[in-house]
C-alpha cells in the first residue's frame, strides 16, 4: 500500500490550501473530514504489514476525524444557524498566500533536520506535510472569526501532528496513539458544548466578540 503514501500526503496538502481558500464553512468542515479520512488511510499506508492494531488505529482515526467530529461540527453549525460565512480576519487570498509560503518554509525547515538512513524514501514528504498542516491549523486558528472555524483549525493542527506520528511508527505505541485520538475527541466535544453555551449567552459564535476580558 505504500505507493499510496505520497499521493495521500499531497492530497492532505491540497486540502490545507483548500481550507484556507474556502469561503463556506460547510466546505471547510468537509475538507477537514476528508483530511481525517486521508489520515486513516495514511496510517495503513505507512505500515508494511497490516496488523490488527494498525487497522484499529486507522479505523478509529477515520471514525473520529472523518465522521464523528465533522458530524458534531455540522450539528453545531446547524444549531448556531450559520449558513456559509467563514469570515476571515484577513482576506482569503492573503490566507492562501501565507499558507503557500508556510508550506515552502516547512519544506525548508524539514530539510535542516537530519533524517535516518533507514527512513523510507517514500516517507520523505511526511515531515514537510506535517509542518505545513500544523501551520495551516495555526493560520486558521489565528485568522478566522467563527468559533467553529477555530475548532476546525485546531483539528487541522492535530492532523498535522498525527502525520508526524506516522513517521515514528517504530517508537510510538498504539495505546498512546489511541489515547491521543480519544483526548482530541473529548477536547472537541467539550469545545462543542462551550460553543453551544456561547451561542445561548451571546447570540453569536463570533469568537472575536468574546473580548470583554482584557487589560
Amino acid at each position: 500500500m505504500s505507493h499510496l503514501f505520497d499521493p495521500l500526503l499531497v492530497s492532505v496538502l491540497l486540502l490545507n490550501l483548500f481550507v484556507l481558500g474556502a469561503s463556506r464553512l460547510r466546505s471547510v468542515i468537509g475538507a477537514s473530514a476528508l483530511q481525517g479520512v486521508a489520515l486513516g488511510l495514511l496510517t495503513v499506508a505507512a505500515h508494511d504489514h497490516i496488523t490488527f492494531t494498525v487497522t484499529l488505529v486507522a479505523l478509529i482515526a477515520i471514525g473520529l476525524k472523518g465522521v464523528l467530529i465533522p458530524k458534531l461540527l455540522y450539528k453545531a453549525m446547524r444549531d448556531v444557524a450559520i449558513v456559509r460565512d467563514v469570515e476571515p480576519l484577513i482576506g482569503l487570498i492573503p490566507s492562501l498566500a501565507i499558507g503557500a509560503v508556510g508550506t515552502g518554509a516547512s519544506v525548508i525547515f524539514a530539510r535542516t533536520l537530519p533524517v535516518a538512513d533507514s527512513y523510507h524514501a517514500s516517507l520523505a514528504l511526511v515531515l514537510p506535510s506535517s509542518f505545513a498542516t500544523v501551520l495551516t491549523g495555526c493560520l486558521v486558528l489565528v485568522t478566522r472569526r467563527k468559533a467553529i472555524t477555530q475548532v476546525v483549525g485546531y483539528l487541522i493542527l492535530e492532523n498535522g501532528i498525527f502525520i508526524m506520528g506516522l513517521g515514528l511508527i517504530e517508537a510510538t505505541t498504539f495505546l498512546v496513539e489511541i489515547g491521543v485520538l480519544l483526548d482530541l475527541f473529548v477536547a472537541i466535544f467539550v469545545m462543542g458544548i462551550i460553543i453551544n453555551h456561547v451561542r445561548r449567552e451571546f447570540e453569536t459564535t463570533d469568537a472575536a466578540e468574546l473580548s470583554s476580558l482584557k487589560e
Binding site: L89, F109, T112, C138, L141, V142, T143, Q150, A207, A208, L210, S211, S212, L213, K214, E215
Partner: protein, 632 residues
C-alpha cells in the same frame, strides 16, 4: 550570650502570649524582662567580656545558625533593650488594651535584637525583614487614614528595595551560607556601594530618606520613638558591619559627603514642617547625617594614619548614636503626649500647651535643647567630639564640613525653638488645645526617665567612650581614650558651667522679679489682640524657608485675590517630601504610564493570543535552527 537568647525568646514568646491571651500585659512585661535579662550581658561585652558564639544546628541551607554578641552588636543592643522597654511601658499606657500592636512591638524588638546577633546573611536578612514587617504593621496601625496607608506603602517599598540591595551585596560578598565569617574575603567596591544604598534606606540617608517622615508621622508615638531611636540606627549598624567586611573602600569621603548632605537637607526639611512628628522625623535624618559625619571622619582618620582624629570621629559618631537615641526617644514620647492631649499633630492647632501640661512641657524643652546639640545636654558632647576631630583634620573639605555642621546646628535650634514656642508657649490656637490637660503618669513617666538620662549623658560621656573603645577596635581603629578624654573635658566643664550658671542666674533673677504684678502681654497699642494674631508655625519658618533652594521648599500654589471684585482666593501647600514630589513620584508615574501602554498587547482577542503562541514556536525554531546551523 545565653541571656541574650533568653531575651530573644522572651520577646517572641510574650508576643505570642499576648496574641493568644488577648492582653497587652504580657507583651509589656516581656519587653521589660528582656531588657533586664540582656542589658547586663551587653554592658559586660562593652566592658571587655567575651562571649563565645552560640551555634545551633539547623535545617538547610544554613546547616547551623550562629549567633554572637560582639562589641558592635552590644553597642547597638543597649539602646534597643533600654529604649525598647521604656517605649513598651509608654505604649502600654498609650494604646490601652490593644494586644496586636503590643505583640507586634515585641516582635519588632525581638527582630532587631536578632539582627544584631545574626552572624550570617540569611538570619540577618530574615530578622531584618521581620523587623520591617513588624514595624509596617505598627506604622499602619491607624490605617483608616489614607495618608497612613500611603506612608505604610512607601515604607514597605523603600524597605524592600533596600533589602534587595543588601541581599545583592551579601550575595556578592558571601558563599552559599552567607556566613559573615567569609565576607571579608570577597570585599568589592560594588558590594560596598550596594550595602551603602541598602542600609542607607534604613538609616535615612538623603535622598533615600523619603519613607522616614511618612512612617514616623503615621506610627503611634512610642513606635516612632523606637524607630527613630533604634531602627534607624540599625542601618548605621549595617554600614558598620559592611565597613568591617570591606575595609578597602573610600569610606571616609563617602560617609562624610552623605553625612553632610543628610545633616543639611534633613534639618532644612525639618524646620518648616507643620506636623510635629514629621519635624522630629526629619531631624532624625539630620542626626543620622551627623553620625555618618563622625564615622566618616573616623574612617578618614584611620585611612590617613591620624589615629587621634579617627578616635575623635568614631567616638563622636558612636556616642551620637546613643545620645540621639535617648533624646529622640524622649522627644517622640513627649510629642506623643502632646498629640494625645491636643488631639492633633498639627503645630498650628496647638499653642499654650506648656501651661496645660507643665511636666510634659519641661521634658519637651529639655529634649529640644538636647537635640539641637546645645550645651549642656545630650548630643552636645558627641557633636563636640566630631567638631574637634574635624578641626584637627584641618583640611579644606573637612572645614567645610564643619561649616555645614554649624549651619545645621543653627537651623536645628531654629527648628526646635519653633516646635517648643509654637506648641507649648503663647495662647492656645484651637479649642482642643485650650481644653488639653496633662496625660497620666504612664505617658509622662517614661519621658522623665529619658530626660534624666539626657541630662546625665554628657557627664557619662567619658564612661561611654571607654565602652566605645572595643567597638572602634572592631572597626580597625585603635581608640586613643586619652585623646578623646582630653577633647571631651572642655565640653564637660562647659556643660557644668552652663548648668551651674544657668540655675544660679535663674534663681537669682527670679528672686529679683519677685516684686511683680501681672498685666496682659503688651500688644503694641493694639487693644484687642486674639490668639489668632500670634505668629504661626508657618510664619515663624517663613523667613528661612524662603531662602532654601527651590527644590527643598514646600510647593505652594496660591491664587491670591485680585482685581476689584476678587474671585475666591486659594492657597494649597504641597507638604510631600521634595524628593518624593520632584523625583520619585514623577518617575514612578512615568514608569506606570509606560507599563500601561503595554496593555494593548492583551486586548482580549483570542486570535491574537494564539498568534503569540505560534510566533513563540516559529521564532524559537528559527533561532535554534540558525544557531545549530551556525555551530556546525
Amino acid at each position: 550570650m545565653i541571656w541574650c537568647l533568653a531575651a530573644l525568646g522572651v520577646l517572641f514568646a510574650s508576643a505570642i502570649a499576648a496574641l493568644i491571651l488577648r492582653t497587652h500585659l504580657y507583651a509589656t512585661l516581656g519587653a521589660l524582662l528582656a531588657a533586664l535579662l540582656a542589658l547586663p550581658a551587653a554592658f559586660a561585652v562593652l566592658a571587655g567580656a567575651h562571649f563565645a558564639d552560640v551555634v545551633v544546628p539547623w535545617g538547610q541551607p544554613l546547616g547551623e545558625i550562629r549567633l554572637g554578641l560582639d562589641p558592635l552588636s552590644a553597642f547597638f543592643a543597649i539602646p534597643l533593650l533600654a529604649l525598647g522597654a521604656t517605649c513598651a511601658a509608654y505604649g502600654a499606657a498609650y494604646l490601652r488594651s490593644r494586644c496586636v500592636p503590643a505583640a507586634l512591638f515585641n516582635v519588632l524588638a525581638g527582630a532587631m535584637l536578632l539582627v544584631l546577633l545574626a552572624r550570617d546573611g540569611i538570619v540577618f536578612l530574615v530578622a531584618w525583614e521581620l523587623m520591617t514587617l513588624a514595624s509596617y504593621g505598627l506604622v499602619t496601625f491607624d490605617h483608616a487614614q489614607p495618608e497612613v496607608r500611603r506612608a505604610g506603602w512607601v515604607y514597605l517599598v523603600a524597605s524592600h528595595l533596600g533589602v534587595a540591595c543588601i541581599l545583592s551585596a551579601f550575595l556578592l560578598l558571601g558563599d552559599s551560607t552567607l556566613s559573615f565569617a567569609d565576607f571579608a574575603r570577597h570585599g568589592t567596591p560594588v558590594a560596598a556601594t550596594l550595602a551603602v544604598i541598602g542600609f542607607g534606606v534604613k538609616a535615612g540617608v538623603v535622598p533615600l530618606h523619603v519613607w522616614l517622615p511618612e512612617a514616623h508621622a503615621a506610627a503611634p508615638s512610642h513606635v516612632s520613638a523606637l524607630m527613630s531611636a533604634v531602627l534607624i540606627k540599625l542601618g548605621i549598624y549595617g554600614l558598620l558591619r559592611t565597613i568591617s567586611f570591606v575595609p578597602a573602600f573610600p569610606w571616609g569621603p563617602v560617609l562624610l559627603a552623605l553625612g553632610s548632605a543628610g545633616a543639611l537637607v534633613g534639618i532644612a526639611l525639618a524646620f518648616y514642617q507643620r506636623d510635629i512628628k514629621r519635624a522630629l522625623a526629619y531631624s532624625t535624618v539630620e542626626n543620622a547625617g551627623i553620625v555618618l559625619i563622625g564615622l566618616g571622619l573616623g574612617m578618614w582618620g584611620a585611612a590617613h594614619g591620624r589615629p587621634a582624629i579617627a578616635a575623635l570621629g568614631l567616638a563622636g559618631g558612636l556616642l551620637h548614636v546613643w545620645n540621639h537615641a535617648v533624646v529622640k526617644c524622649l522627644l517622640f514620647l513627649a510629642a506623643g503626649g502632646l498629640v494625645h492631649g491636643a488631639g492633633t499633630r498639627d503645630l498650628e492647632q496647638m499653642g499654650g500647651l506648656g501651661a496645660r501640661m507643665p511636666r510634659l512641657a519641661r521634658m519637651l524643652v529639655l529634649g529640644g535643647v538636647a537635640i539641637a546639640a546645645l550645651p549642656p545636654l545630650g548630643a552636645f558632647a558627641s557633636e563636640w567630639l566630631i567638631y574637634v576631630g574635624l578641626l584637627h583634620g584641618n583640611t579644606q573639605p573637612l572645614l567645610f564640613v564643619v561649616a555645614a555642621l554649624a549651619t545645621a546646628g543653627a537651623m536645628a535650634a531654629l527648628c526646635f525653638v519653633r516646635v517648643i514656642g509654637i506648641a507649648l508657649l503663647g495662647h492656645p490656637r484651637s479649642r482642643a488645645a485650650a481644653d488639653a490637660h496633662e496625660p497620666g503618669r504612664g505617658l509622662v513617666g517614661p519621658a522623665v526617665v529619658l530626660a534624666a538620662l539626657a541630662i546625665a549623658m554628657p557627664f557619662a560621656a567619658p564612661l561611654a567612650v571607654r565602652a566605645i573603645a572595643p567597638v572602634a577596635a572592631q572597626l580597625g581603629a585603635d581608640l586613643d581614650v586619652a585623646a578623646v578624654d582630653e577633647a571631651l573635658a572642655p565640653a564637660l566643664i562647659l556643660s557644668g558651667a552652663v548648668w551651674l550658671g544657668g540655675i544660679l542666674a535663674f534663681l537669682a533673677i527670679r528672686r529679683v522679679v519677685r516684686r511683680r504684678r501681672a498685666a496682659e502681654t503688651w500688644g503694641c497699642g493694639y487693644t484687642a489682640p486674639s490668639p489668632r494674631m500670634q505668629y504661626t508655625a508657618a510664619s515663624f519658618a517663613e523667613g528661612l524657608h524662603r531662602l532654601l533652594p527651590r527644590a527643598l521648599r514646600a510647593k505652594v500654589e496660591a491664587a491670591p485675590p485680585a482685581e476689584l471684585f476678587p474671585s475666591p482666593a486659594r492657597l494649597a501647600v504641597d507638604r510631600r517630601d521634595p524628593f518624593t514630589r520632584a523625583a520619585y513620584e514623577p518617575l514612578l508615574d512615568r514608569l506606570a504610564r509606560r507599563f500601561s501602554q503595554l496593555r494593548w498587547v492583551q486586548q482580549g482577542l483570542l486570535h491574537i493570543y494564539i498568534l503569540y503562541v505560534v510566533i513563540a514556536v516559529v521564532l524559537g525554531l528559527v533561532i535554534v535552527t540558525l544557531r545549530d546551523g551556525w555551530a556546525s
